[in-house]
């Protein structure tokens, strides 16, 4: 380790001594990367700034590229959250489906991936093919809709949780991880007289926290972001998650219709863009707030998946 560090140091010193093309290359590269990062962030910044700009300033700033509010305000957020509870309820639905849906999915994924990681299990290859085929052949929107309807799951929260409970891709990632756990570790529990369930709970799962975190987060983000299953399966707006409601708000020209409160109309109504932006921020903030800290788990998850077993 130390030696490679030393070698690198020599190299960097060399390139510093020769200020020609190498340095120019590094600077151009860094500038381009900064530009890319800025382009990624500008849309978010734009929305975030508008959402805290007072109504008066928005009108005044209409012709500025990016305007930093002089007196930032949270009034738009207050307006959205006080509404008549529509957005709060939608948020509740989203939180419910994210928590329960992730828990269910994680359990099913572990229970499926673990036996399939046992190379001696008879029928393992056929079962893998059974799961894998659904990855390359999709049933299509209409038959899926009809099946969910047939089971009476429309207008039920179960429609969010059951149809996509097991993501085969995530299952394969987890199985690949389980394959890497040495069989000898489980062997010891079997000698102690523990069954397969105990081996899974006491030995395998404690060793698998990184992959459990990754896959759990993949499921959680998926649940948090999905909007289309509600469009398909839910006609009762009370059961809509935040993303679906947000889409409806963005489509409808006026907010008043959705937020419904006839009282709120008589009060000075903020311009809809600011309110919409506040709603967007509310739907993104949870992900953006935790994302930098959990990023490494996502990356780990995709890395395990890349090294296929």
């Amino acid at each position: 380790m130390r030696q490679t560090g030393y070698v690198e140091k020599i190299h960097s010193r060399k390139s510093l001594k020769r200020p020609g093309s190498d340095l120019v290359f590094s600077i151009v590269n860094a500038i381009l990367l900064i530009l890319i990062a800025v382009c990624t962030l500008v849309p978010f910044l734009d929305v975030a700034l508008t959402s805290i700009t007072p109504t008066k300033e928005i009108v005044k700033n209409a012709k500025a590229l990016i305007a930093i509010p002089k007196s930032p305000t949270l009034s738009h957020y207050r307006y959205v959250l006080n509404g008549n509870g529509t957005i709060l309820r939608a948020m509740g639905v989203t939180i419910f489906r994210t928590v329960v849906g992730t828990a269910v999915s994680l359990c099913v994924t572990v229970l499926t991936a673990y036996p399939l990681s046992k190379k001696f299990l008879p029928g393992r290859n056929i079962l893998m093919k059974y799961f894998f085929f659904t990855m390359i052949f999709s049933a299509g929107m209409i038959p899926s809709y009809l099946v969910v309807k047939m089971f009476g799951l429309t207008d039920s929260l179960l429609a969010f949780i059951l149809p996509n409970a097991l993501n085969v891709y995530n299952m394969i990632i987890m199985r690949t991880f389980f394959l890497g756990i040495p069989a000898e570790l489980e062997e010891s529990t079997r000698i102690d007289g523990c069954g397969e369930w105990k081996a899974l709970l006491k030995v395998v799962l404690p060793l698998s926290t990184p992959v459990l975190a990754s896959i759990g987060l993949f499921y959680a983000v998926w649940h948090w972001n999905s909007f289309f299953d509600a469009v398909l399966y839910i006609t009762d707006r009370k059961l809509w998650p935040l993303q679906t409601l947000l889409r409806e708000i963005l489509l409808s020209t006026s907010m008043s219709e959705l937020l419904g409160g006839s009282g709120s109309l008589s009060e000075a109504m903020p311009p809809s863009t600011a309110v919409i932006n506040a709603t967007i921020m509310i739907s993104c903030i949870p992900i953006m707030a935790v994302y930098p800290f959990i990023q490494k788990y996502f990356v780990k998850g995709i890395m395990v998946g890349a090294i296929k077993g």
Partner: protein
């Protein structure tokens, strides 16, 4: 894998192929664990696949899937002879190819650029930022896009007007809308797709670069003659995966971004199925369109995989 090559610890009995009943008795706990997954996939993946038979029926809602009358290939002939389908199929292919052409090289380029950064903190910072859009829903991104591209007060149009250009209504102009789709796709996924290339790059042995430095290679030469060739196997696999998925253009993206004025250039098979099936409730006909897409997708994926296998690369299945 040879079926008989089982670990010795299973005893001599395991060397012989086990009868199903014996296997179930011996490993019943493992099979029990598999039941929830098997049942869920059976009910919500295979049952819908079977339900595709209504593509061959004149589906009447009040009759249901079983009592509706069979009508052979009528739905398919109506689909292929109809006015819309040619346009929709070509939209799907054109969008898929545009995304492939422009969206595929982007993460490779980004990974190469990130790989050349010496300062680890800066590298990690850029990575954190560019991965972020992957985790934002298309609903939010669609609204960010329409805000940015608004002809009245969007940043892009303000920049254009500063350059003395007339404002462009990107979201409603068939001439620009495909560009919007490709650009938002690149914006959202380039960072995340670069991860796989970065992983491949971290596996390149350092001594190759050291040897090249001794030989007096310039930085660009090292990228072109060491880094890039080392990436080729990964690039080929990713390319074939992408080509196999070319027909999956991204339903959620188009669905959240498009509007009637741009249907002509942006309506893809999935959105068409949604409108004909869910909105107009022509279940049989829409299922026929969806089934056609699923079959084409399957053929594409299987043939791409076959090519990968033939070329001696590690294949998907």
């Amino acid at each position: 894998m040879k079926k008989r090559a089982r670990p010795k610890r299973e005893g001599p009995a395991a060397m012989v192929k086990m009868s199903p009943s014996k296997a179930v008795r011996k490993y019943h706990n493992y099979y029990l664990m598999l039941i929830p997954g098997i049942v869920l996939i059976g009910l919500f993946a295979y049952l819908p696949i079977i339900c595709n038979f209504i593509a061959f029926k004149d589906y009447k809602i009040f009759l249901g899937p079983f009592k509706s009358t069979w009508n052979g290939l009528d739905n398919f002939t109506r689909l292929f002879q109809g006015n819309d389908f040619g346009q929709i199929f070509s939209n799907t292919l054109v969008l898929g190819m545009l995304k492939l052409l422009l969206g595929f090289p982007a993460p490779i380029l980004l990974a190469l650029m990130l790989n050349e950064v010496g300062n680890q903190l800066f590298k990690r910072l850029v990575q954190t930022v560019v991965y972020l859009p992957h985790f934002i829903s298309w609903v939010v991104i669609a609204s960010l896009t329409s805000t940015l591209l608004s002809p009245n007060d969007g940043i892009i149009n303000m920049l254009l007007s500063k350059l003395g250009h007339q404002p462009i209504f990107f979201m409603g102009d068939p001439e620009y809308f495909r560009g919007v789709l490709v650009a938002t796709d690149i914006w959202k996924e380039t960072g995340w797709s670069a991860i796989i290339y970065l992983a491949a790059l971290s596996g390149i042995p350092q001594d190759m670069y050291e040897a090249a430095t001794v030989d007096g290679a310039k930085r660009m030469q090292k990228i072109l003659f060491i880094t890039l060739p080392c990436l080729v196997p990964t690039i080929i696999i990713m390319l074939l995966l992408r080509v196999g998925n070319i027909i999956n253009v991204g339903f959620e993206q188009v669905f959240t971004l498009y509007s009637p004025p741009v249907y002509r250039v942006a309506d893809i098979i999935d959105t068409y199925v949604y409108r004909i099936g869910i909105v107009d409730a022509q279940y049989g006909f829409a299922t026929a369109a969806g089934l056609f897409k699923s079959v084409v997708a399957l053929v594409l994926v299987v043939s791409c995989n076959w090519i990968t296998k033939k070329s001696g690369q590690e294949s998907l299945f």
